[in-house]
Subunit: 239 residues, 2 copies
Amino acid sequence: MPKIETLLSPALFHLHSEGLEDKQVVIIDVLRATTTVVVAFENGVDHVVASASVKDTLTYRDKGYLVAAERNGIMVEGFDLGNSPQDYTPELVTGRNIALTTTNGTRALNMAEEAETVWVASFRNLSATAEALTQNGRDVLLFCAGWKDRFNMEDTLFAGALAEQLLTMGWTTDDDATFAAIDLYSQNSHRLEAFLEKASHVQRFKTLHIESDLQVCLKIDSSRTVVYLQDDKLVGKTL
Amino acid sequence: MPKIETLLSPALFHLHSEGLEDKQVVIIDVLRATTTVVVAFENGVDHVVASASVKDTLTYRDKGYLVAAERNGIMVEGFDLGNSPQDYTPELVTGRNIALTTTNGTRALNMAEEAETVWVASFRNLSATAEALTQNGRDVLLFCAGWKDRFNMEDTLFAGALAEQLLTMGWTTDDDATFAAIDLYSQNSHRLEAFLEKASHVQRFKTLHIESDLQVCLKIDSSRTVVYLQDDKLVGKTL
């Protein structure tokens, strides 16, 4: 039976990097980078290039890409898009390519690129991702992107939601971080938004007046599209 | 109001080390290093020297110390004591000094030594430690020693127990790791032993046949003695 491990912060990555080439990794940055990417695929984007730097991302404009950049929760000036999933409308993104850089999400993607498969997931494609992981069948590392290397609540809750579902599909775990994530999710799944109210990043949302993004990010299973890395590009596949 | 932060793994220490000289730190390694130290003080030890190396610890024998060393859960050969709290009986330790080295706990102590006060705590002196922290009044970092830099369940649960008590005493927090620890503890405080059953370190206990230590380590508020670092030695004070 395949095994689940959970990485609660990118700063702990070195503890889990051994044998990564035979594992699947799920990148989790639900508020908002990985939700935004999933929404972009829901709404018909062709592919997404994730880059660590703002400067590199901007060079894709000349190649016909929409360019998207977020730093500290805010859209970087001169870009077409920031990190709000609500801006990735079908009108704007259908059939287009997007180059994207975000504070935490794209860094996590780059760290994990040696893995056998790298998935990008959010509550919106929770069950579809669990199915795709199971079809693949290799051990998985649930990689919480966190906030500047700190543990965060929302990514841990999603890791718990995904791990809980995988366990019901026959997966196993002996990892305390996974047990903790599952417990946090299962005890609070009936009141996710209220539970996240005190989380540091949701407080940051209030300062930025982007609270309506929260509902979009917590919408469970609105999508059957899974997203994964292929030749340095994120592509989608509908199950 | 003083603030609480929680360090879920020593590998995240760099995120919390700024301004440490004005903070209190609580070292948490409840299975079993910090429990063992608390029991030693309950049973009348004079002071404890915690050292990172086995070799250095052994040199204290010539100075009249009892010497204690644990690696990977097992007593190192040639020492008087390992890391089982049940071996630190009044008959053996009253009025004596102990030099101790453990896999994770003493390393955490050394990392935190710049703090204004470094406490060592366990479930056995939970409330006494909360009172001592409040008397001091400075911000606190709850430092989970973990297992070889990995997150572990038992230390996180204790951090949650302590943080929950501090909040009722007027402390504040805006730290997701603290919220998570509190939630894990408050949802499972009525069944700590059963909840920890699946934790990786408790599984390790079974292999080592040291399960009876678990009850000793989970006994809440059996002691009114707080333990702290003074001139490189751990000393006790009864509240």
